[in-house]
């Protein structure tokens, strides 16, 4: 750990130019990043950050294989993407002499990146649909008390689908991994006919809005936007929900990596910026800074933040498990769903 403030570190090493940001998160997330964390960084250092939206990590891998990487900072959608990339030598190490990783909660950073943009996968429901609020995943299977279609994401890793089934089937949270995929799918079979699958974040809340479902598993930030932007009476619980992180990394052969290291440092230090960003998009960046509590944020977003006491009863997704088993899990899921 070197300097105490981002300004100091900025002064210490001359940085300039532009950071081309490999962005996989999309429209509004970028808009808010630009308005808060990146904007602050540019104001302090003069280094601009430019958005480069890409649909998935694929293109980065292609470019890295060819040894032609134009980006300085990467937003890799999952921890296992980052792990794969690191393994193949596509990522630079985080320079801990610049980046104060010690301010981050242990386990939310690695040699090759810091975790960000935690997305929570939570039980959500139309607040006007039921008299009594559901509280556990088992309630998703309770078609009598909580009638209506169930919403699930069509990709199990990002949808908490298998985990929810196992929890509902009585598996203890700490025994979830390795997943008993067969058991989970058997449990899912019970409600298969009542599931509405959503295919994108936009669609998930659209499904609630248009009545395609009344209860389901949503991304916490989308649930927030349904409530905040549209005034839809969305309610959620983090209990038995899951959360998982994306990763910000620096490519091994990227341009202007020094500035990118500085940017990471600046973001970690910029607590106001973090709060400003999470007030709009409740997926904090970085994922967990030591000492940040829900109460630090505006009241309306507090319930949606995967931080502090909110996630006491939530479960962290085992990304190592997924890194190892994703193709089989996906294959099994595909086969089941396609039957």
């Amino acid at each position: 750990s070197s300097s105490a403030t981002p300004e100091a570190s900025g002064d210490a090493q001359e940085i300039s130019g532009d950071i081309l940001f490999y962005d996989t998160s999309g429209g509004t997330v970028w808009e808010q990043l630009d308005a808060t964390l990146f904007g602050d960084f540019t104001a302090d250092t003069g280094v601009t950050v430019t958005d480069d939206y890409n649909e998935a990590a694929t293109k980065f891998f292609g470019a890295a294989e060819a040894g032609q990487v134009p980006w300085s900072l990467l937003f890799l959608p999952t921890v296992n993407d980052a792990a794969t990339a690191a393994e193949q030598g596509f990522l630079a190490e985080i320079d801990t002499s610049i980046v104060p990783v010690d301010k981050l909660v242990e386990g939310t950073y690695s040699d090759h990146g810091i975790e960000v943009g935690t997305f929570g996968m939570v039980l959500a429901w139309d607040g006007e649909a039921y008299d009594t609020a559901p509280s556990t995943m088992a309630d998703l299977w309770d078609l009598e008390t909580f009638p209506g279609k169930r919403c699930f994401f069509n990709n199990p890793q990002y949808g908490w689908t298998l985990e929810a089934a196992l929890l509902a089937d009585g598996v203890a949270p700490d025994e979830l991994y390795p997943l008993d995929v067969e058991r989970a799918l058997a449990k899912l079979d019970e409600i298969k006919g009542d599931i509405t699958w959503w295919t994108s974040g936009a669609q998930s809340i659209e499904s609630f809005e248009n009545g395609s479902c009344d209860i389901g598993i949503l991304w916490a930030n989308r649930a927030n936007s349904a409530l905040a932007d549209n005034g839809f009476p969305m309610e959620i619980t983090w209990d038995e929900g899951g959360y998982s992180n994306s990763v910000w990394s620096i490519p091994a052969d990227g341009p202007n990596v020094a500035a990118a290291q500085q940017l990471l440092a600046h973001v970690i230090e910029n607590k106001d910026g973090q709060i400003a960003f999470a007030s709009k998009i409740p997926t904090p960046i970085p994922a967990s800074v030591i000492g940040v509590e829900p109460s630090d944020f505006p009241e309306e977003v507090q319930p949606f933040l995967p931080v502090g006491s909110n996630i006491d009863n939530a479960i962290r997704q085992d990304t190592d498990y997924y890194a190892e088993n994703l193709d089989e899990v996906l294959d099994a899921f595909n086969r089941w769903v396609g039957q």
Binding site: G26, G27, Q68, Q203
Partner: protein, 585 residues
């Protein structure tokens, strides 16, 4: 009609003259060479990288230590899940093709029988959806098909009970049909207006009933258009990615969606193999159609109204009424999602919902006040214009080469090469293209994207220009020679000038192909400003903001205004020119 009097085939001279003129041959090669090089670099090479990926064990072909394995292909034929995906893809393509043909046929028939001005208007209605990103249209379709949408509400109102198509196979089918319809209508229309109305009259003078005339004369006359059009939409249906990805549930996985998913988890080999399988299957279909009909004929685009509509008076008969009804349905299917962007764009909510809540025009204001949309629109325009120009140029050269060829095999190769990119799954082409452009250091450049878009747009331009050129009177070119014009001059001032409407049509189709292209554009652009559909796509993940339908509404309005101005201008021009006194020869 006077042209019937000639007894010497007019296409003969030009062809036989060219054969033996060494100079002309050299010119042709000089023109053809850049096109061939273009195809080799931007189509053959990318496909080759995909083939190599499909043959290597981990999907990453390494020139230094090549390994070959057919595992991926074996898997395609052994794994019952993959077989099911393949089967489902085929089923979706077949079903949507059948429905599209059933809708497009009466629609095209009805339009082909109308007066030219009315026909043009309806054709424009059918073309309007091309201008609105398919992503937006599909999003509008989700709103239409959703439980709160007009269809279900109508069904409830009529006491027909829940009618929910969203995320069902039926919904996917509707979306695919919506995507394919304009292509089929255009191809069929071109074929239908070319039918000589006298043939139908002749059948009637021989005692044939209307039904019989239809089956034994009309249908055979448009057979090649019908088959080519059907093949075209079948191919498009097989490989189209966005509809099943957006409208289909996970149970509706198709090959293209599966390929996309496997690529996301780095299973390159099986994804590539599946793509190659798709390519080979469609190539076989193509060869089959060419074998049966002797040609692949997609006279898309503006055509001179001759034949039936010009000759036979329009009359309301029972089949005509039925056709009109189907035409109405077709146009509704195509136009409704386009119109739906208007209500979607005026709600006060921060994400798009239907029905809209409240009323505001702030989203329109945002379109103009932030760089988010103006930049992409500009980018799309530039790329579209570039693609349009390049595609037309390539199409001209190819069509010219094809028409001056005497060997059937040569023609088959040229047209096969020209049409192959249409057949290739976009995602694979994108990856291959990306590989190649990385090697050439072109990624992220606008030129690179234009070249890639040209690969997929040129086939359509080629189809249109080929149809126009082969229909054009080649005697005109010879006439220019006799007046002292050099071959180059004759080609430009007579041949090209004579098919200007088709060239415009080819340009427009190429332009909109680029204008609405997502997959290649996602891969080949780097930097903050992306083309419009990519920018729209970017919001699909994080929540569609109402600016997206606002942009779409503005585009619809712009297109309508342009068309209206055009209509007024041509009406004025018509008034100022004397009416034609004779049928042209």
């Amino acid at each position: 009609m006077a042209a019937q009097q000639m007894t010497t085939p007019i296409a003969v001279p030009a062809r036989s003259v060219r054969r033996s003129r060494a100079g002309a041959a050299a010119v042709r090669i000089a023109l053809l060479a850049p096109v061939i090089i273009f195809y080799l670099i931007f189509f053959v090479w990318p496909i080759l990288t995909v083939v190599l990926r499909s043959l290597s064990e981990d999907g990453r072909f390494d020139l230094a230590s090549p390994t070959f394995s057919l595992d991926a292909y074996l898997q395609l034929f052994q794994d019952d899940f993959l077989l099911r995906v393949e089967w489902r893809t085929l089923l979706l393509a077949v079903n949507s093709t059948i429905i599209t043909v059933l809708l497009a046929f009466p629609t095209a028939y009805f339009i082909s029988r109308l007066k030219r001005r009315t026909a043009t208007l309806l054709l424009l209605l059918i073309l309007v959806p091309f201008w609105i990103s398919i992503v937006v249209r599909l999003f509008a379709v989700t709103s239409i098909l959703s439980p709160n949408g007009p269809i279900n509400q109508l069904s409830l109102l009529l006491g027909l009970g829940e009618f929910n198509l969203l995320y069902t196979p039926a919904g996917t089918l509707v979306g695919t049909v919506m995507y394919l319809l304009p292509y089929m209508v255009l191809v069929l229309y071109a074929g239908m207006v070319a039918v000589d109305g006298n043939l139908l009259l002749a059948a009637r003078t021989l005692g044939a009933s209307p039904t019989r005339t239809f089956f034994s004369v009309y249908l055979p006359m448009i057979r090649s258009s019908l088959m080519s059009g059907t093949l075209l939409i079948f191919i498009l249906g097989l490989g189209f990615f966005l509809v099943p990805a957006i409208l289909g549930g996970p149970a509706e996985q198709t090959i293209s969606v599966y390929i996309q998913q496997q690529i996301d988890i780095f299973q390159w080999a099986v994804a590539s193999a599946m793509g190659i399988l798709l390519l080979i299957a469609t190539l076989i279909c193509y060869v089959g159609v060419v074998r049966v009909t002797g040609e692949f004929k997609t006279g898309v685009g503006p055509v001179q109204v001759k034949g039936v509509s010009g000759d036979q008076p329009f009359r309301w008969s029972a089949p005509m009424v039925a056709s009109a009804v189907v035409a109405f349905v077709t146009i509704t299917i195509l136009v409704l999602p386009v119109l739906f962007v208007f209500p979607l764009s005026i709600g006060e909510t921060g994400t798009v919902v239907f029905p809209p809540r409240g009323f505001t025009l702030q989203w329109y204001a945002q379109v103009f006040t932030t760089a988010t949309w103006l930049g992409p629109i500009g980018q799309s325009l530039v790329v579209g214009l570039g693609t349009g120009i390049l595609s037309v140029a390539i199409a001209l050269v190819l069509a010219r080469a094809m028409l001056s060829m005497t060997s059937t095999a040569g023609k088959a190769i040229v047209s096969g090469l020209a049409f192959a990119p249409l057949i290739t799954p976009a995602i694979l082409l994108a990856i291959g293209e990306y590989d190649v452009q990385l090697r050439l250091g072109m990624t992220g450049t606008i030129i690179g994207l234009i070249l890639a878009h040209t690969v997929i747009a040129a086939p359509l331009a080629f189809a249109i220009i080929l149809a126009a050129m082969s229909g054009a009177d080649r005697g005109l070119e010879a006439a220019a020679w006799t007046l002292g014009a050099s071959r180059t001059r004759a080609f430009w001032t007579v041949v090209v000038r004579g098919i200007i409407p088709s060239i415009v049509g080819a340009f427009v189709i190429s332009f909109v192909t680029s204008w609405d292209e997502v997959v290649l554009a996602l891969f080949l652009q780097t930097g903050p400003t992306k083309t419009l559909p990519v920018t729209i796509y970017k919001y699909l993940e994080s929540g569609i903001v109402p600016t997206v339908p606002a942009v779409a509404s503005l585009l619809v309005t712009a297109v309508i205004v342009i068309l209206a101005i055009r209509g007024v201008v041509s009406a004025i021009r018509r008034k100022n020119t004397p009416p034609s006194t004779q049928e042209s020869s």
